[in-house]
């Protein structure tokens, strides 16, 4: 518990733990938390037993749905998500890769329309492990090592 004193516990809301440190801020961005009224705490470079360094995002007064949680699957597939009510863990959610990934990923094909004109990206998941995506527009398949976030 001592390790987590840097960000306080929340009464109601969602705690996303075990985020790879380097994508913590990206996770917060993807979740689009601009309209959340409660307190949002973001901590990164925290020591962790499971991973080298981890990040945590705590979102007060907002219970994420499974669909919302799934948005972070590309960058933080092993994150743990706890829904908190009255300071207790009410539910745990797994991060599941959706069948379609929208907006988050950049197409690796420089000649794809999404890299030439303002267009939201969309990818179909061809394979979950190892991750393989197919661009809705140029139809190119992308392997995990080619995946770049927007």
């Amino acid at each position: 518990m001592k390790k987590e004193v840097s960000i306080s516990a929340i009464k109601e809301g969602t705690v996303i733990d075990h985020i790879p440190s380097n994508v913590t801020l990206k996770v917060a961005e993807i979740l689009n938390l601009d309209d959340v009224a409660g307190i949002i705490s973001i901590a990164t470079n925290l020591p962790s037993k499971k991973m080298a360094k981890k990040g945590i995002v705590k979102i007060g007064d907002k219970l994420l749905t499974q669909d919302e949680v799934n948005k972070i699957a590309v960058i933080a597939p092993d994150a743990t998500v706890n829904i908190i009510e009255n300071y207790n863990v009410k539910r745990k959610l797994k991060v599941l890769l959706p069948d379609i990934i929208e907006k988050i990923v950049k197409c690796s094909n420089p000649n794809c329309i999404t890299n030439n004109e303002k267009a939201e990206t969309r990818f179909y998941v061809l394979n979950k492990t190892p991750l393989k995506l197919k661009c809705h527009y140029c139809e190119r398949a992308m392997n995990k090592e080619d995946i770049v976030l927007l």
Partner: protein
């Protein structure tokens, strides 16, 4: 699936039943239907030059009684002023009932189709898709062989960058073919296509020497080694002219082999083969007419 208002963007959007339905509609378009699309307007947006495809669409539309407007030179268009394709589609839909687009950027036709409330036909988006070419290839095979099923299909030339062979491979996969991919290793069919074939349990053979497998083939699909698709001009120099088909091929083929080519050819097929019963590439190009007529009439809801 209903065809009215349906876009034609990628051959992969069509099921086996869809493909067969389009081919049947194309056959019905072999007869003259001079008033079928009377009062309809086709916009042809060619951001990249293409003589044959464009003329074929214009001919198809006009011989069905429709009218055509458009451009084939971006110098004339607002693209020079930086207008987005999204906006272009929004404008053009006000002037036309259906549009055909060719654009060098991959996925451009899909984006325009999403912007436009009118049906959009992709006439080639860079190295990605050219579905009307694939449909006329299927139509030709069906016409000259009487069936699409269980054929031995040879593909020779640039199988790595050639979009026609990629799309045709996907489309023929519905019909239990055996593929013979004839190319030097550097120009062979990309791994992801081979992987898809394995998953679908479709037999294929990779071979560099055409003469070793030529006697097995029902169809030989020849492609040009396209300079514009090569990222490295040195690579291109190495492989241009790698396959040149001439009369020596005739010694080792089935009697009813048919030779196809999406055209234009450079020197892959010697002119001496043109007059043989095996050559069907000019007929193939002409088959673009009934196929494109059918797609226009289906999308405009004038035939079912």
């Amino acid at each position: 699936m209903a065809f009215k208002n349906r876009d034609v963007i990628s051959i992969n959007d069509f099921s086996k039943e869809d493909l067969l339905h389009i081919l049947k509609a194309a056959k019905s378009m072999e007869k003259s239907r001079p008033n079928l699309l009377k009062g309809k307007i086709l916009a042809t947006l060619f951001f990249e030059p293409s003589t044959r495809t464009r003329l074929s669409f214009i001919y198809a539309m006009e011989s069905l009684g429709g009218k055509v407007l458009g451009f084939d030179d971006t110098k004339q268009s607002s693209l020079q002023k930086g207008e987005s394709l999204w906006d272009t589609a929004k404008i053009v839909e006000k002037y036309s009932d259906i549009m055909v687009i060719r654009h060098p950027v991959e996925g451009s036709a899909r984006l325009m189709a999403e912007s436009s409330s009118k049906p959009v036909i992709n006439a080639g988006d860079g190295a990605n898709q050219h579905p009307t070419q694939t449909l006329l290839d299927l139509y030709t095979i069906q016409k000259v062989k009487g069936t699409l099923n269980n054929l031995n299909i040879g593909m020779v030339g640039d199988l790595k960058y050639g979009r026609t062979v990629h799309s045709l491979t996907n489309a023929l996969s519905h019909f239990n073919p055996t593929f013979y991919f004839i190319a030097p290793e550097a120009l062979q069919m990309p791994q992801n296509y081979l992987e898809e074939l394995r998953q679908k349990n479709i037999k294929f053979v990779k071979e560099e020497n055409l003469m070793k497998v030529s006697n097995k083939l029902d169809i030989l699909y020849v492609t040009r080694i396209q300079k514009e698709r090569f990222p490295d001009p040195v690579e291109y120099e190495k492989y241009k002219g790698y396959y040149k088909l001439d009369e020596s091929l005739l010694k080792n083929i089935k009697n009813d082999l048919k030779i196809m080519h999406p055209l234009p050819r450079v020197d892959e097929i010697n002119k001496k083969l043109d007059s043989t019963k095996h050559a069907v590439y000019f007929e193939q190009a002409a088959n673009g007419i009934p196929v494109r007529k059918a797609l226009l009439a289906l999308a405009l809801g004038k035939i079912k």
